[in-house]
Symmetry: C2
Subunit: 581 residues, 2 copies
C-alpha cells in the first residue's frame, strides 16, 4: 500500500500517512494540485510558513510504461501568485514510486533562518541531516560529493544558491541518468519555496523498496505495448526521428521560418542566427567535436524517445546537458545570441545555480531591453548570470525573474503572463499558444496546452497559426489532455503519437486504467483533465487572480510583430470563453 | 468659464476643451478619478502609452476658503496597479484654479526615449520647452534656477530623478510658499507616470488669469466664516493648538504610548526613542537652534492651521521643510532611528530625488529586515537613499518601493496593501485604521479614512483602538467623508473641527454649495463620497483587483505585535462588508 510522507520543517519530523480514499487514483499534477488545494490557503505568502511543497510521481511512474519517469512538484508559486505544478523527467521519480511513496508533502517553517537540511529517504524511513556545508556552492560541485557519500544509485533532489536566496526564478533540480544536476522542475519558482523551508536536498535510495503495484497487469501490458508501438513509429518520436536525432531544438529553424521565434525580447518573430543555434547544428557539432557530445540521450531510464543531448566543448569534453529548444531559444534568439558555446555556458550556469532557463533567458532579454547589455552580447549575459549566484542587488533583481526585472528597470515590454515569462513561441504569430499562455492556470506556459502541435508541427492536422478561428477550443482541448497526461507521469511528447495514432491513444488510456484497475476510457481523459483545470482555477481565484490576469501583456495589442506584422487580436471574451465548460 | 487643458506628449500639443456637463460640479479627487475612469483602460500598463495623468484643484481651491489649497493628481498607479489619487497643499493649485483651468490631462507617449520637456502655462496658453538640461539633477538645485528664469511668483510642478527613472515610489513635487520643492503628491508612484510621459516640469504663471468664479457669494461667505471659526477654536487646529505648535509629529509620543507606532518594520508598536523624534522635540530644537527653524509654517497661502515646519541644522541654517509625522516616523521609528538630524537629511533627500517619504521609509525598513543594514543605522540609511538617485541596481530596487524590495530580498514581513507600504499607524493595535488600509481603493493609506481621529485623538468621541466593534462602519464613514473632502480642495485636517463642531460642518457644506450654486446639504457629503469610492472600486475591479487585495499582509495574522501582543483579527467578511452600501 502506498503512503504519503509528510515532512515538517518546523520540528523536522517525517511521518508516513495512509493515502486518503479521494487521492487513491491520483498521481502527478492531479495529486499535487489536489493536496495544495486541500491544504494551502490560497492567500498565504508563497515564502511564508503556510505554503507547502508537494512532490508526486505520476500514476504509471516506476513501471515499465515508456517515457513515464516524470515527477510533479506543486505549491503556491512565488512567481505567479497562483497554484503551480512543474514537472521533470528523472529516475528519482521512479525511485520515489518504488519506495511506495505516493507523495511527499513538505510543510512548516524553520525557526532558525539561514540553516539548511538534507532529508534522506530509504526503505527504512526518513532522516534529517545538516546540509550547511553545501550551502552557497554550485550544484555541479555538490552532486558528485553527494553521490560519493550516499551511493551512485541514489536520486538527488535539490535547490541551488538561487533557491537558498528564495529567488522567484529558482527551480527544483533532479539528477539525470548520469547523475548530472540537469533535470528541472524549473518554472514558477518552487525552488524558492523549498529554500524558504530550509530544505536543501532530498536523497532518495530505493534499494529494497516495495516497488510499484499494478492492479491489472494484463490490461496494463496490452496498453503499454500499443503505446510503445505508436511512439516507435511516429516521425517525431521514433528512434532516428526528429526529436531523437536533433533534440527539441529541431524547432529553432522551423519557428524562425514560421515567423514565430521570439527574438530580442519578443520584438521580432525571425532570428537571423537561427541556423547557428539550431538542433541540426547541435547534432552536427556533437558529431564533429566527438568526445562527450551526443544526441539521443534519455532523461530517465525507460524513455524511448530520448530527445536530450550532451553538448561538447570544442575540445570534445562535456560542456552541458542538455541544450533543449526552450533553453536554446531563451538565451539564443531571445537575447539575440547566435553562439551555441555561449548558450551552453548560460544553460550550465542555470543548472549550477538552480534557476529556470526559460525565466532566466527571458529576464536577461528584459535586462537587455532595459539597457544593461546590448542584444547579442553573450559575454555580458554570462556576467549578468554570475550576479545571480553572487546575490548582489543586480543578481537579486535578475534572479526574481523578468517581471520584477522589468518593473525595477522601468521596462514596459515584459512578455509575461501572471508574472511568468513566455516561452519560445510568439503569440502574435501563433494565436493558439497565446490563448494557452493567457488562460493557463500556470502563467505563460507552453507545456500547459501545446497547440504548437497542430499550428506548427502538423500533428493532428495542420491549422493556420495566424488564424484565431477555433483556437479557444483547440487550446482547451490541449490544456485538458495535458492536465491528464501530467497526472499519469507520461512525458508530454507522447502527445504527438497519441494524437496521430488511434491505437497509441488507446494504449495510453489502457496502461493507466490497467495500473489503477479502473475502467477508464478515452472520455475520462478529458473529464479528469477538465477537473484538474477547474480545481487549479479555483485555487487561483482564491488567491485573487481574475480574468484580467488571463491576458497577454498590453504591448502585444498595439505593437505589430515582424515579419507578419500582426498584433495580438484574440478578443478578451474569447479568452474568457475558454473557461466555459 | 473653466476649461480642461489636454496635453498630448506624443505630438506635444496642448488644447483647451470645454468642461463636459457631467464634470461641472466636480473638483479634486472626484474629477481626477472620474476622468481616469472615463478615459483610461484599467488593464493598461501604468507606464505605457495608454495611462493618463490628471491634475485637478479642489472645488473651492483658489478662493478665500480656509486651508483649501490642495491639488489632486490621478492616474493608474504603478505601485498599486489600481486607480490613484494623491493630493498635496500648494499655491500652485490655487494658481491653476485662477487660470480658469479645472483639470490638466496629460496623455500620449514620447517617441524619443530619455528626452524630457517643460510645459509652461500662463494666461495666454501653453508652450513646450526642452527640459533636458535639468535631467539628473536634484530638485533643490533646479528650483531656484527655474524661479530665476520664470519669475519668483510662478508655481512649479516636477518630477525628480526617481520619476525620470520611472520608479514606483516617485512622487510629483509642488513648491511650498517659499519656493521649496517640498510639497508632494507622494503616494502611488504618479511621478513615474509623469516621467514615463517625458514631462519633467509644468510651470504655472497665473498673472492676469481670470480668477475663480463663486456662484453664490453670500452662501459661500457665510459658510466660510463658520468654518474659519470652527478651525480657529478646535484644540487641534487653532492658532497655538497642537498642530500649529508642534506640527503633525505631535503624534509620535501619543502613538508610541498607545502601542500603535510601527517600529523596526512593524515588529513593535512602541519606540524607545519616541521622545527624541517627537513633535515636541522638533519645536524645542526650532526654538533652541533659532535661525531658519520654525513651526507653525503654512504649506500654502490661506492656510490657517499651519502645521508645517522648517527644521534647522545645529547652526541654525535650514535643513529641511518639513518634518511631518509620517516622514518622521517612516525614517525614525520604522527604521529604528532616533536622530532627528538624520531623519531631516533622509527627508531632504526624498524631496531632492522626488520620492515619497512614506514609501521610502517603509522600503528602507524592509531593506533593513532583509539584511542590508541594521535597524537604527542612520548612516547606512542615508547611503541607501543615495543609491536611489544614482539608479544603481540597489537603487532601482529601493526606488520601486517596499513590496518590490521585499520580493527581491526574499523578505516575508512586508507591511503593504495593494503594493503600497503602510503609513504610521499599526493596524494590529488600531483596528479601524487597518480596515481603511485593507479596503481603501488607494492601497494602504491613512488619509483615505483617518479613523485615528476617534481611535487615538478622541475626535468625534473616543473609541477603543483595540476593539473591532463598529470599526467597519467607522472606516466607511471616514472613507466617504474623506473622498468628499478630497473633492473640495480642503485640507483633511479640517475634519477635526467639522466632526466636533456642528457649525463647522455646516460651514464647510455651505461654502462648497455656495461655490457651485447647488443646494447640497450634509447628506450630499456622504452621497458624493460613496459615489467616488464606488467609481474608484469599479476601476480597480477592471484592473483585476479583488477582495483578496482588500487584505492586510498575512504575517499580521499570525505574528502578535508588542506591547499589546495582538494579531490582526478583523474577519475577512467584515472587511468585505465595508463595500456593502
Amino acid at each position: 500500500m502506498k503512503k504519503i510522507l509528510r515532512v515538517n520543517m518546523t520540528d523536522r519530523t517525517a511521518k508516513f500517512e495512509e493515502v486518503p480514499e479521494k487521492y487513491k487514483l491520483m498521481g502527478g499534477r492531479w495529486l499535487t494540485s489536489s493536496i495544495i488545494s486541500d491544504e494551502v490557503d490560497p492567500t498565504c505568502h508563497p515564502l511564508g510558513p503556510n505554503n507547502k511543497l508537494v512532490f508526486a510521481p505520476g500514476i504509471v511512474t516506476g513501471t515499465s510504461a515508456p517515457s513515464s519517469g516524470r515527477i510533479s512538484v506543486g505549491g503556491k508559486s512565488p512567481l505567479t501568485g497562483g497554484i503551480k505544478e512543474s514537472n521533470a523527467g528523472t529516475a528519482t521519480s521512479q525511485m520515489i514510486a518504488r519506495l511506495g511513496i505516493k507523495a511527499i508533502i513538505v510543510e512548516g517553517y524553520p525557526e532558525e533562518k539561514g540553516k539548511f537540511w538534507l532529508l534522506k529517504l530509504d526503505k527504512d524511513g526518513a532522516e534529517f541531516l545538516p546540509a550547511d556545508e553545501w550551502v552557497g556552492k554550485g550544484l555541479y560541485e555538490v552532486y558528485p560529493v553527494l553521490f560519493d557519500k550516499y551511493g551512485k544509485k541514489v536520486g538527488i533532489i535539490s535547490v541551488g544558491v538561487a533557491g537558498e536566496m528564495k529567488m522567484a526564478s529558482a527551480g527544483i533540480c533532479f539528477n539525470d541518468i548520469d547523475g548530472r544536476p540537469s533535470r528541472y522542475s524549473g518554472r514558477g519558482g518552487l525552488g524558492a519555496v523549498m529554500g524558504s523551508k530550509g530544505l536543501k536536498f532530498i536523497i532518495v535510495d530505493d534499494k529494497g523498496g516495495p516497488g510499484v503495484e499494478i492492479a491489472d497487469k494484463e490490461k496494463f501490458n496490452v496498453g503499454r505495448k500499443k503505446l510503445v508501438e505508436a511512439i516507435s513509429s511516429h516521425a517525431l518520436t521514433k528512434k532516428g526521428g526528429a526529436l531523437n536525432t536533433y533534440g527539441t531544438a529541431v524547432l529553432i529553424n522551423i519557428l524562425s521560418e514560421a515567423g514565430g521565434l521570439p527574438t530580442n525580447n519578443f520584438s521580432s518573430g525571425t532570428f537571423e542566427g537561427a541556423a547557428k543555434i539550431s538542433g541540426e547544428r547541435i547534432a552536427e557539432l556533437c558529431e564533429e567535436r566527438g568526445g562527450a557530445g551526443r544526441t539521443g540521450h534519455p532523461c530517465h531510464p525507460g524513455c524511448i524517445i530520448q530527445c536530450s543531448n550532451v553538448y561538447p566543448k570544442p575540445d570534445g569534453t562535456e560542456h552541458v546537458s542538455c541544450i533543449e529548444y526552450e533553453s536554446d531559444w531563451a538565451f539564443g534568439a531571445n537575447c539575440g545570441i547566435d553562439d551555441l558555446d555561449a548558450i551552453a555556458e548560460l544553460i550550465r550556469l542555470c543548472n549550477d545555480y538552480g534557476v529556470d532557463t526559460i525565466e532566466m533567458g527571458g529576464t536577461i532579454a528584459v535586462a537587455m531591453e532595459g539597457g544593461l547589455a546590448e542584444f547579442g552580447d553573450a559575454q555580458k549575459a554570462i556576467e549578468l548570470m554570475h550576479e545571480v549566484a553572487k546575490g548582489t542587488p543586480l543578481g537579486r533583481i535578475l534572479g526574481n525573474g523578468a517581471a520584477v526585472t522589468g518593473k525595477t528597470l522601468g521596462v514596459v515590454r515584459v512578455p509575461a503572463v501572471k508574472g511568468q515569462n513566455m516561452p519560445a513561441y510568439s503569440p502574435r504569430a501563433i494565436k493558439g499558444i497565446g490563448i494557452t499562455y493567457a488562460t493557463s492556470t500556470m502563467g505563460a506556459d507552453h507545456t500547459a496546452g501545446y497547440t504548437i502541435a497542430p499550428e506548427i508541427a502538423g500533428v493532428g492536422g495542420k491549422v493556420d497559426p495566424l488564424s484565431t478561428e477555433g483556437k479557444v477550443t483547440l487550446s482547451r482541448n490541449f490544456q485538458s489532455t495535458t492536465a491528464y497526461l501530467d497526472a499519469t507521469g507520461y512525458c508530454l511528447f507522447i502527445a504527438f503519437p497519441i494524437i496521430d495514432i488511434a491505437s497509441g491513444f488507446e494504449g495510453m488510456v489502457e496502461s493507466v486504467a490497467g495500473m489503477l484497475g479502473t475502467n477508464w476510457t478515452g472520455d475520462d481523459v478529458g473529464r479528469i483533465g477538465l477537473e484538474i483545470m477547474r480545481m487549479e482555477r479555483k485555487f487561483n481565484e482564491g488567491a485573487g487572480l481574475t480574468k484580467v490576469d488571463d491576458r497577454l501583456p498590453e504591448f502585444m495589442k498595439y505593437e505589430p510583430l515582424p515579419p507578419h506584422n500582426q498584433v495580438w487580436d484574440v478578443p478578451d471574451e474569447d479568452l474568457d470563453s475558454l473557461w466555459e465548460f
